[in-house]
Amino acid sequence: MDFNDTPEEATFRQEVRSWLEANVPASSELEGLDYIGTAKLWQKRKYDAGWACIRWPKEHGGRNATAIENVIFGQEESKFDTPDNIFGIGHGMCGPTMMAWATDEQNKEYMPSLASGEKIWCQLFSEPAGGSDLAALRTRAEKDGDEWVINGQKIWTSGAHYSDYGVLVLRTDPTAPKHQGLTYFFIDMKSPGIEIKPIKQISGGANFNEVYFTDVRVSDAQRLGAVGQGWQVALTTLMNERASIGGGGGGVNFDSVFKLAQKVMIDDEPAIRDKTVRSKLADWYVQESGLKFTGYRSMTALSKGEIPGPENSIGKLVGAPKQQDMASFALDLLDASGAIWDKELSEEAGMFQATYMGSPGLRIAGGTDEIMANIIAERVLGLPQDIRVDKGIPFNEVPTSNS
């Protein structure tokens, strides 16, 4: 075990740092661009220099880098103020699924523009009747010659409104038991018959959407895996999701609350002197560092060729409620003015308030806290599954309401 860089890693780190220093866009360069424009500009710049999706094969737009190199790149990039990343779903989930299941020609065609940020991808999984119980989705695909015709509705699709492609799971056989009647596709989001309606979130933004499909046609060539094998393909996506939406990241974290505690006062002394504040900060620190090092351990496993397993559910299960509690605590430290949510008047331009209102979504997106805990109990610890009332019966006979 060694937490220090090997000489090769140190060289690599230095190379990354030098490139970032010379190439992270200055704010003047980004003036006039919206968040999509700035994200695309930065991604394209990385791509042109060979620093986009670096773990991916060269012919798909990457650089054949190792898992550890990928971590190093991420660590170094996070030290800079770079544009918000809107490619997480595409790079973290859609890309890896495509590379595992699509043909070589398809990957050569679609992956480079995904890596470069020129094209954005989204994940059309959840439906009104299929969230935690994803396999209960109902949107239909019916075969018509070399094409499939899609009818139904997806919901909560993050970024659908600015995406070019999406991956989706559809029901191709409603009479089969639910997991067996599914088939997986990728689709052009500009296809005729797709209608996208934004959903406003409690945090004020509208980053996720309802997506309606009316007689939308998709070529059979865009099917990933066999007909009826959709659940297995979806698991590739979900495994990668768990590995990519970990706990850490931006927004409210130990550092930002620590800094706030040094600044605001309790009984005329900086809050950081207060014993109760210190004890809370200590709790959050050990959670954060525990997650970080657990993450490093799975990276090490990954670099030895293992695939991300159910144990990665821990990142989200710990990280999301932690963010919520820390944001809540930060508002308490601000006392009465914790209520104010304003770019000018609030500390850190309202970041603590924004996280308070946004973090409930983190606990739900990509698998709820409860589902993450079930996965740990059943798939990591091997505890028996809940008795399943929907097991083995045809999907169209599973109860969906009290009536």
Binding site: Q324, D332, T368, S401
Partner: protein, 372 residues
């Protein structure tokens, strides 16, 4: 011992709940959240007509002369309905300050108007981030005038009078003042908050004429006393709100299916709802004790109030956030009502000193009690 409300008080609760069900469903809350109005004036007018703003004001000042038990009942129901009106500022804080420290003239001048809802009052303490103390205040009075600014002031944009806590060179380091807000030297702007269904303002005082409330140098003691009393009433609102969140979660869990059965059949959901109930019930128990201490001016008030406040803050935060969680993606949408208790729980918990402040007060009060 009789740890229950009287029949009359329970009747009042029934009336209050019926009235608020009819006049303050979540559409009313949503309209204020979404719109430009600072509060629901129609609801406020009706609340005034029902005499709620006059509840504890003595009859000699045109009040109803009822007890804090009645006010507690009203507070719980207003909290349950998430009422978008300036009730807490005007009734639990400004009115209380004048009852507690006002001269006979001040009481005669303001209490009848507050009782009749002709004016709205507010309390101005904070001057930006962090916990204010007598030492941290920068606003001062000079020759009967105040200079400086206060932010945030709950309901400061719609209030007619403010009780302002300003620094003082004597006594406990602070004095309280009464300020009429309709003067040229007072400027006000609405500040955006995490709960736009309850408005907040920044108030600038540019040599605004002010009148001492209570004695010079006794302002901080007055504030502590006010907070101890208001804490009980805020806690009742918080308990009412927790109940709302719990009921929303319960209704949704019964009807939502996943894996072929209602999510209410999963123990993860059952235990979540049971925990909401447990926390809310403990908080309500503490609120009963707080209401008794408040209504009987008991020496136990500091402990009782802080216990009610701490447990109510915790119960409401838990119920509000887990209500969203129970709703899954739906709970995170603007369209659903889960956001209201989530916003309000945090607003009420930072309004008169946050959780840490009250934990500290609680243990200090217990220490003092044990030492005596």
């Amino acid at each position: 011992m009789n740890f229950e409300f009287s029949d009359e008080q329970n009747l009042l609760r029934e009336q209050a709940r019926g009235f608020l069900n009819a006049n303050c469903d979540t559409k009313v809350v949503r309209a204020i959240l979404d719109g430009d109005a600072s509060y629901d004036t129609a609801l406020w007018t009706k609340v005034v007509e029902m005499g709620w703003t006059a509840t504890v004001i003595p009859e000699e000042y045109d009040g109803l002369g009822l007890s804090y038990l009645e006010l507690s009942v009203i507070a719980e129901e207003l909290g349950r309905a998430l009422a978008p009106i300036p009730f807490s500022s005007s009734v639990y804080l400004a009115t209380e300050a004048i009852i507690a420290a006002g001269s006979k003239q001040q009481k005669e001048a303001w209490l009848p108007k507050l009782a009749a809802g002709k004016i709205i009052g507010c309390l101005a303490v904070a001057e930006g981030s962090g916990r204010a103390s007598a030492k941290s205040l920068t606003m001062r009075e000079k020759a009967g005038a105040l200079r400086g600014s206060k932010v945030p002031v709950a309901d400061g944009d719609v209030a007619d009078i403010a009780v302002v806590i300003a620094a003082s060179a004597t006594g406990d380091g602070a004095s309280a003042y009464l300020v009429e807000l309709d003067q040229a030297s007072v400027s006000r702007e609405v500040v955006p908050t995490i709960d736009p269904s309850r408005s907040h303002a920044k108030i600038g005082f540019d040599s605004a004429s002010a009148e001492l409330l209570g004695k010079e140098g006794e302002g901080w003691a007055l504030l502590e006393k006010l907070y101890n009393r208001a804490a009980v009433l805020f806690a009742w609102e918080q308990v009412g709100g927790s109940d709302t969140a719990l009921n929303m979660a319960k209704d949704y869990a019964m009807g939502r299916f996943a894996f072929g059965r209602p999510i209410a059949t999963y123990q993860a959901i059952k235990h979540k709802l049971a925990n909401m109930y447990v926390k809310t019930t403990l908080a309500r128990g503490n609120c009963y004790y707080g209401a008794w201490a408040l209504s009987s001016d008991a020496a136990e008030l500091p402990i009782a109030a802080a216990a009610a406040r701490v447990s109510a803050i915790q119960a409401y935060y838990f119920a509000a956030k887990e209500n969203i969680q129970t709703h899954g993606g739906m709970g995170f949408t603007w369209e659903f009502d889960c956001q209201f208790p989530y916003r309000r729980s945090k607003l009420l918990s930072v309004n008169i000193g946050s959780e840490g402040v009250w934990q500290e007060k609680l243990i200090s009060a217990i220490e003092k009690d044990r030492a005596a």
